[in-house]
Amino acid sequence: MMRKCLPLFLLALLALGSTCFAKDIKVGFVYVSPVGDAGYSYAHDQGRLAVEAMDGVTTSFVESVAEGQDSERVMMNMARKDYDIIFATSYGYMDPMLKVAKEFPNVKFLHCSGYKNAENMANYFGRIYQARYLTGMVAGAMTKSKELGYVAAFPIPEVIRGINAFTLGAQSVNPDVQVRVVWTKTWYDPATEKEAAKSLLDVGCDVIAQHQDSPGPQEAAQERGVWSIGYNSDMSAFAPKSHLTSAVWNWGPFYKEMVQQIIDGTWKAQFYWYGLDHGIVDIAPFGPMVPEDVQKTVLAKKAEIASGAYQVFTGPIKDQAGTEKVAAGAVMSDGDLLGFNWFVQGVVGTLE
């Protein structure tokens, strides 16, 4: 009797073991800056924490990883340590990731903000410009001087796209508005970015928006008693008196979706560019100074964009020189958006 049962018993144990002790899926994240910066990497790390909360998934990360050889080594190290999924969240990780992806075909790679794919490597980004359009509407409604200031990092398509969307949003509620752009050539440098904001305030801007990871511009706006629009995460804590709203990242749902698809085997290595429709981007709660009718208009537009009824870059759109670049009724393609290298009319600044 015992002898007959033993194999069965062992089999049962084995089955039990494989369900109870199934290997956790290991997910690694590579960040370009420290996660404590309240900015870009912080937002990604909030997404990681959402993945960490999933059953059967463990996560870890390496922060402050320089683009180039350092990032290649970090990703290689993760792959060797049997990580199943690797997210790299900065543009400069693209080519290193492609190299590592070729060496580890069984690991799934996801790269943020680039454009290269492989069989086991997808790229993804969020349509933060949709949120920027909405914040532009708020800024346009609140300005008195009709001069908005925009402290921007680098003249690359991602940033240019955001400035253009912000400008179009502001013009949609206040046609004469101008947006003044200052480049800091930094992603995270609180002092420089605050100074840049001050220079915009000096020329009469009364709303400061930013494409930076530090809350420096928010503080500058609050000190002068004017309004500000944040970025990355809800920046109201840094300037409660001036903060109107922020264009924010919400990576959690997307990261969970990707990991779940990989576990289920339904994942595809393609380009994911989700927007308000997937909740990957959003605007932070309005500050108490934003009038209710403005809030209503903005939220109505948000619903329109999320449902696909309205596209941010719908013609007619003119460039700075007044030449019509997008005909009335036409919509810019994703390809054009990804390579955006001109400013729309109403932006004051150069692309250098």
Binding site: F61, V62, V65, E67, R73, D95, P157
Partner: protein, 354 residues
Amino acid sequence: MPAFSAVRRQEPLGWGSCLVFFAALGLAFLVSGTLLAIQGKPALTGLWLLVESAFGSRHALEDCLIKAVPIFLCSLGVGLTFRLQIWNIGAEGQFALGAVGATWAALTFPTWPWYALLPIMLLCASVAGGLWGAIPAVLRLKLRANEIIVSLMLNYVGILILEFLVYGVWKDPGSFGFPMTSEFAPAAVVARIAGTRLNWGLLLCLAIGVLMTVFLRSTRLGYELRACGENVRAARYARMPYAFLVILVMAVSGALAGWAGFLEASAILGRLQPSIMSGYGYTAIVVAWLANLNPLIIAVASFLLAGLRVGMETLQLDLQVPAAFGGIMEGFILLAVLAGGFFSRYRLQMRRAG
């Protein structure tokens, strides 16, 4: 209470200074371990993990060697100027110019075969980096401008030149507006040593390391360099070519940093982009001091520092220690080793009362 006074050693400490070095290292590790424990991380496991992930496998050793190459080249050059009591803080800018020089060659002669192109790239990197290094030397000699300030300021200028080029005329049209040159032709890429992840730049380091040791120990100019460093007045009185030496060491130092820029652009990135600047030029100052300006020890120190940085990444990944901890630990090690240097030169003597 016994009082101590420091007395300069008459004889060099010899192997004893090795002991001092390891004691200092041990102390730095002790402090780091304590810091880990304060964060609620396992201290001993953490330190072991750091060492093991830096030096404990073939992969790890390869990673350390790759990372050590640019640190070594920059440190070797910086160390050479320090010997002469000339303070080159500008390796960062010379590195940038070297990368720019090599990239110019790679983009200008893309169809050349590797045996012609790579030497030209190396030459251009040496000339660009060397000239950049010679500027503070000439200004010091002609205008008595402080070379520390000039070389430091030229860092910013050098990096801006690099950015100007990759944001402007050299920008790859296919990069969606991102600042980077197009990928180099395969002939412009320093090849990997077969069967490893290392590239042949390592051989270049080996050769220049040996050459530098021989130069300093066994040539007349090397002797004069060391003599000028000890006492400029006496050396000048002996008609040693001080001005020539100043320009020479600054140019060589710049050229070596330029080599590092060339290897990073060619072998590691395969193109020029702003993220090539990782602060190796500043790290070099630390390494040169740690190594007491000795070429062999510079090589060891570069390797160890590279190991520390590589190991820190694993420490982050496995224990989720913040990245800043690596910087803190690096600082402690430097502080402890430099403070330990005091005991190599002085000994403590108990002062008797009365």
